[in-house]
């Protein structure tokens, strides 16, 4: 094992002190150009790489960003992480990854993160409510940025989308296609995004002057199984009460819905149009392909990193004039979503839908 070359070696070889080498390393301005030059050259020659551990210890700060994620197999995660990784790469920072495997207390992990004593900030990818411990830490000054969902009031800086507006778009798309009775399969109530998507759905119905029928709102868990359950529930409805379309709060549930619908002999979109939410990779490949709201996961990752680093490099945000009471509501970066039209909503097979309308009006 090669003996590590340290700042001291560089100092000796360049004929300066450790302090000066450190200054060069940290790009301090008060080093004579000539000296800096010499030091840099020696570092180059020696293949010197400063120890982040030592720097972190001495400087009290660190170059490590803790990233807390759900399991990678959750389909939205890889794309987010790709954005995170790519953004980090352009900086001096590194990623320390904490994956919350199901069945593990989030608090345990958060504590573990701190145990590092290395991680100076935290990027949390968490659909669903935040743990109290996390909020506590954030309030103690730990820079934290959350991707995606948020507990009731947005208490932490975050990056996400406008769930309400997006759900509105999705529902409105169905309405424009001529569907009148539109159901909704919603996510669990503890997810803020589930509530917002529900609100968007309601709003669209209202704005279109369509009646709201509570019997058409189903409770889901954001998991595939609850999509299947919903399809079954729908199929057992008397024909006259069946909806013509359904807005499902995430793609995962939509998959379950589609597969159960197929098994039940329900044709999508002829018998029932479906719109999902997320646009995860599979959505373009299920049959029928899923019309859905595309979340910009990659961009969310990138933006989260940028936000986090800007927080870290000092609160450079100028207080808004006139609101100088010192309180800054946490920043939220809201990225645009997009409706991706595929087969499941029937937009691509309008003629068939017209047939369907006929047969329905015959009843």
């Amino acid at each position: 094992m090669k003996p590590k070359v340290t700042i001291e070696d560089i100092a000796r070889l360049a004929g300066v002190s450790k302090a000066t080498v450190s200054r060069v390393l940290n790009e301090r301005s008060n080093v004579k150009a000539e000296t800096r030059e010499r030091v840099l050259r020696v570092m180059q020659e020696q293949g010197f790489v400063p120890s982040l551990a030592a720097a972190g210890l001495a400087g009290g700060r660190s170059r490590l960003v803790g990233v807390l994620t759900p399991p990678f197999t959750q389909p939205t995660v890889p794309e987010i992480l790709r954005g995170v990784a790519e953004a980090i790469e352009h900086t001096d920072y590194e990623i320390v990854l904490y994956s919350t495997n199901a069945g593990q207390s989030p608090t345990t992990i958060v504590n573990r993160i701190l145990a590092l004593g290395l991680t100076s900030c935290l990027l949390v990818i968490q659909p669903g409510p935040l743990t109290p411990r996390l909020l506590q830490l954030a309030s103690q000054g730990l820079p934290v940025v959350v991707i995606d969902d948020q507990g009731p009031p947005p208490e932490l800086p975050s990056v996400g989308i406008d769930n309400r507006v997006s759900a509105y778009q999705a529902t409105m798309h169905l309405i424009r296609l001529g569907y009148r009775r539109i159901a909704h399969l919603q996510g669990p109530a503890e997810f803020r995004c589930a509530q917002e998507r529900y609100q968007g759905y309601r709003q669209a119905l209202d704005d279109a002057g369509l009646p709201f029928d509570p019997a058409l709102v189903f409770n889901g868990t954001f998991e595939t199984a609850s999509g299947r359950a919903c399809a079954v529930a729908l199929a057992t409805l008397p024909l006259a009460e069946r909806p013509e379309a359904i807005f499902i709060a995430n793609d995962q549930m939509a998959f379950g819905f589609l597969s159960a619908a197929e098994a039940l002999g329900l044709r999508i979109p002829q018998d029932l149009a479906v719109v999902g939410f997320d646009d995860i990779p599979l959505s373009a490949h299920v049959r029928p392909t899923l019309t859905t709201i595309k979340q910009p996961f990659y961009e969310m990752g990138r933006n989260a990193v940028e936000l986090l680093l800007s927080l870290l490099h000092g609160p450079a945000m100028q207080p808004v004039a006139g609101a100088e009471d010192g309180y800054q509501p946490p920043i939220r970066i809201q990225l645009p979503t997009r409706l991706v039209i595929r087969e499941s909503c029937g937009a691509l097979t309008l003629h068939r839908r017209q047939e369907q309308e006929h047969s329905l009006s015959d009843e």
Copy 2:
């Protein structure tokens, strides 16, 4: 920001020296049970978490495992990473993640990893050849474990599968189904696994007494596009020369093949049976669903971590008696694969294949 409680505080409160506290922390045996008890209690009370940075600096080693991965969006990666994350979680170690985004020199990243000075070992997920820099580091004593592929001679400890045998199984499956003219779309030659899969294919042909036709071997890149290209190439073949089945060296290419085949009016599996390799999540969802070799990605991740840590905790492997020359060939953990039979190979629709044989023999 709360002032961090250090080992010194604990020492003072417990009425012992820093050294003793350190011993307790590291579970050294030579501490009186009573003392240990007291120290532990104080640590508990104070919510003490030792600084990994300091420990790493002082101890010369570190509790960080560097993980070098391809982009997360490469479909095999999330599952591997899940295994890695889960295995790590049961240890004191943490993951520092380095994602190699396309178009970035691997050497740059490897250097960056070392720059950390934190990472004491490396887990490399790399299909394709290893960079010289990596080999150099490994030979300098850095513990490295590679997942999946390997450069020509297996120079580093690794975890993977037996590509040759798996490809043999895949091809033999087609043979058993009665296909005689079996094509192969292979991966790029610089991938060892591509070569091995090719060999397995050849071997199966040989063992079955089937003639090998070089015209039926196509060159691919492991990417979707080359699957499409292959389908086109096949379709332009004179009818009499067309294969009845094809073994495609990875699922990604198989997807391209399937979609192009559909566009070309080639029915799968009736006109042509397809077997892939990998069993990534999409494989169960494309139409027709893909018969393929399942790689145990999750287990590969877990095993790689275990191997790496065993390497780290001292070369505890007893030299084999009689081979005491000191040279230890690097360990390779080879996990079993499994053939997953779905629609694309035609096994599920045998009757149709029989029809097909009829029509073929009519020609």
